[in-house]
Amino acid sequence: MKKLNALLRLMGAGVLGAIPFALSGSAQTTTTTPPAATTAPQPPTSATPQMIEEAVQRSLARSAKFRDFGVPERFGSEEPFTYVPGRTTF
């Protein structure tokens, strides 16, 4: 604990408060998660060649961004992307 306080001083994070720990491992749930209610149209349950091509293009675009700018795909965001049928180079 002493070491942790020293670390927090190093981080400039202030004084450690005594906050009770939620022991997640012992958590029991009896609640059920119902299937998501939705009015949206049924999404496709079988992939089309176009869908696959779009996914590959999205991947290539992200990798190109990483290659060109050293910026990896960001977590927590959907990056702008435009699907162009037949496009193979990025």
Partner: protein, 758 residues
Amino acid sequence: MYLLPKTSFARQREAQKARDNRAEIVKALSHGQITRRDLYKWGIFTATGTLALKNGLSPFAPSAFAAVPTGTPRSPLFNAQKFSQPLPRLAVQTPTPLTRDADGNAAFPAALGERPAKRLSYHTDFSANPIDPQFRNPVTGRGPIEGRPPGELFAHQRWDEFFPKVGYVMSIAPVAPNTRFHPQFPAQNPNSVWCYGTGRFVNGTLPPPLFKGRYGEPILTRVYQNLPVNRVDNGGFGRNETQVHFHNAHNGAESDGAANVHHFPGTFYDYRWSTTLARRDKTNTGATDPRASGPDGNGGLVNVAGDFRELQGTMWWHDHRFFFTAENVYKGNVGMVNYYSGPDRGNEGLNDGVNLRLPSGSLLDSGNLDFDVNLIVSDAATDQAGQLFFDIFTTDGFLGDIPLVNFAYAPFMEVLPRKYRFRILNACMSRFWKLALAGPTGTAVPFQFIANDGNFVLNPLTMVTLDHQGTAERYDIVVDFSRVKVGDRVRLVNQLQMRDDGRGPQQDLTLAQALAGDPNDPCIGPIMEFRVVGSVQSVDDPSVTLLSTTPDTSVVPLFLTQQIPIVAPIRTRLVEWGRSGEGDSRNPVTGQCTPDCPETAVFPWTVRVNGQAAHSMNANRISLLIPKPGEIEHWTYVNGGGGWDHPIHLHFEEGVTIDRGGDAIPATERFVRKDVWRLRSTGRRTVTFQIQFGEYGGSYVNHCHNTVHEDFALLMRIQLLTGVPGSPQTAVTATPNPTPDGVVFTTPEILPEGDPRI
């Protein structure tokens, strides 16, 4: 990431301090002194849930002493030299014969004092009689004695049909005293390594165990959980809750070990490993094809139903506790299984027209290991005291700097000048290997590639270097040491430079470059040595001395199996593996994961099905549903992009690799059955394979086998409605939620894009 040996003392001290600070945070979290919220509040975690890039904390933060990252201290070697200890062969386990008792249970011999194995879990008895001490956890006095969930949902499927004939009793436990990775390394503390031991409530031992399975001889594996009851007694990492996944055997979901069924210290879990040959309900149903068979123990065969083209050979098992798999597997929760069959008998001398007579030996009826060697190749890191170390803050991947083979540091093995089969398993968390053999003059020694992920290729492939081998992949090769002479040495060399953040391979090195080593990565270069000698002691019969003058009768035939045809599919599926979306493993109201996850966990990794919304792992969410057995589907995996390589593993069934989006398919996987596919970060980043499911049903998973990615949470549940007619596994099964007091079931959510019934 690891500092060079000549790095200044100041920089080494800085890196050590940062690592100590991370360890201190982990300890405070595990002791309940702080919460994850505190870490955000104090700026130790960023808004995206990653460790702040601050000096004194992160290995990737700029050093105060140079314009480079802080890095990580190198693991000490205590003056141990490579190739100074013999290879420990895996610990072959002796099966116990089981008999059917009057109640239809599988009884162990009375001398063992084991209760019989049953179709229904002992949790079922506990639920009916919770105060009866014979059904309660004997160590904690809390909850059921068996971790397998109660009732028909987790009864062993097809129990009578695959009634277990042999049994094993094992414990997962702290390692026994004086266990070392090398004689000069310090002994591991009991809670630094958690591994398997033979028997009930015993310590774990290294090297890991090896089971010899035979088609037609179902196995009951009882695993006692002998880990510390107190969760914080873990040596800094690892969770004292385990489930054993038999990767990638054809078993019911209740025995697959990945249906969210971890269990607790003091309990046991009965896994029934059925040795079922896939397609038994569809192909060769009368069991008339002698190629679909297993050894009978007396030189003959027992025919089984199913498709001989789907025979499996080299497999392994490992922990699969969701959110803690990387830590637990790295900590030693690993074993291997060789399945023996008519064609792959493990007896090179027996010529009956079915047996392929691959290098193995001939002293035993089957399963000879004299010339058939399992090699578990992994990497490790230790702290400055030599104790196994893992940095739980990494989410890209973890690379060790100590190469291990069968958990021994860079060992040597004496071999005769003849053919050997090696079953090479990559058991790392994140490291890929590219292995080759270097002869006495440094030139490559050719070998033959015969099996990928335990599945024969059609014809042996002559190679001088293996493909990249991602985590969990198994490559079987045959090396003919008669190409060199007695007295020569041949080295197993890693030619693959990894990116130091663990994202994937960086560059293939030439053999000469690799042999020269890389100061940045001690796992590049030779990791094992073979010494060609004139005689060795048999491991199959230690009273026998094997001589180099004895003729080598083994064969590597031109044809190993037959091709499974590629046909038009009933449907296709698209799965993207990457970092889209927000990561939704935590319940937005309670903040809890299913199952519970570490306080520090964040979920940068997500899976997207058929172009719809991306999700991260949740055991109560079904992402793909297989409506009925026998339907042939084509699946396409796409790497979400951005620079990571992902070895993606599908449980339970193997797929035949068809296409890589126009990129060249390595000969080792073209039209070959596999259960792990490397999704590359270069080229078209895609793979398509043909798949069908059958014989068993229930809840399985599909995930990245960079286990660090898997834990953070690149994994999805797949639900197979492919149980036998009338079984509960023809419908969606409820989600078991294990607790120390017993299992609670919940109703799973089903993603509509993954449910073709709609």
